[in-house]
């Protein structure tokens, strides 16, 4: 129960952070990538702010703690190799991000804010996520095991 409440509060704080940061305004995201128009560097401040908080806590916790407070072990990505699907998948994601102005977190929280655009985008996004995961599950069941390392290993994020 406490894990569920904790995850809920974590998602809630994350969502408020996204809104204050301006991530839930597609025009600001587009503005960050619009180097030939009126460039809005705000997104860089969001990412630097988040990384500067996250990095020291991550290093401290993962290096010195036996385990997380409510879990028996840290569940961290293990892969180190840079492969084609990492680059291709991320490239495809970038096209959608630049086209719609929403990435996954802002889309979910903007649906809560009753944005019609976020709802349309978010439903299509869930179809994409679900279709990919279903495809991978079918492939696994046909080959009798994980289709590749990625399906078996914890994904990056």
């Amino acid at each position: 129960m406490k894990v569920k409440i904790g995850a809920f509060l974590g998602g809630g704080l994350f969502g408020i952070g996204l809104a204050i940061a301006g991530m839930t305004q597609p025009a600001k995201i587009i503005g960050f990538f619009d180097f030939f128009g009126s460039w809005d560097p705000s997104l860089a401040f969001v990412m630097v702010g988040a990384i500067l908080v996250y990095t020291p806590i991550y290093r401290w916790a993962v290096r010195t703690w036996q385990h997380p407070i409510w879990a028996p072990a840290f569940s961290l990505p293990t892969r180190k190799d840079i492969d084609g699907r990492l680059i291709l998948g991320s490239a495809i994601f970038g096209v959608g991000w630049g086209l719609g102005g929403y990435c996954p977190g802002p889309a979910f929280t903007s649906i809560g804010a009753r944005s019609d655009e976020a709802l349309t985008f978010g439903l299509a996004m869930l179809v994409g996520v679900g279709a990919y995961q279903l495809f991978m599950r079918i492939r696994e069941s046909r080959t009798g095991g994980p289709a590749d390392q990625q399906a078996a290993a914890m994904i990056d994020g």
Partner: protein, 143 residues
């Protein structure tokens, strides 16, 4: 640069960092939204409820925050329904194929000094910028 918000964006980023660090410290998990959502569809026993609750928290934040600050959710760009659907599909498929999004790769991954996430972030930043260039400079800003 008329809409540049360095202070608010830094504060928002810090809150995102605290939330992501909290998920790591308490639950030992990476706060990547696309990874959290994708895991729901993999249907592993005992691994569903925290994911759903995190996304419900995100949704609830939008419900409550937009009541007081509706201006934080203004779209501000012209996008047709078809463009939004194509954008959603490519974000959904791309983040699963590429194992992460802005939060998982861009914040947590770079924060972990992961080479994979750094490469992924560079990749999606480049194609996002290329897409915005085409939409704004070639298509006139609406699609």
């Amino acid at each position: 640069m008329e809409s540049f918000t360095p202070i608010a964006s830094t504060i928002g980023g810090v809150l995102i960092g605290i939330a992501a660090a909290g998920l790591l410290m308490f639950h030992g998990r990476i706060a990547g939204i696309s990874g959290i959502a994708g895991g729901i569809f993999r249907r592993e026993a005992g691994d569903i409820s925290w994911r759903v609750m995190f996304l419900v928290g995100l949704f609830a934040a939008g419900v409550v925050w937009s009541f007081f600050f509706p201006q934080d959710y203004v779209v501000g760009i012209e996008r047709s329904t078809a463009a939004l659907i194509i954008a959603g599909l490519t974000v959904g498929i791309g983040t699963q194929l590429g194992s992460g999004c802005t939060s998982g790769h861009g914040v947590c991954g770079i924060g972990r000094l992961s080479k994979r996430s750094t490469v992924a972030t560079i990749s999606f930043m480049i194609t996002a910028a290329m897409t915005v260039f085409v939409v704004n400079e070639v298509l006139g800003g609406s699609i």
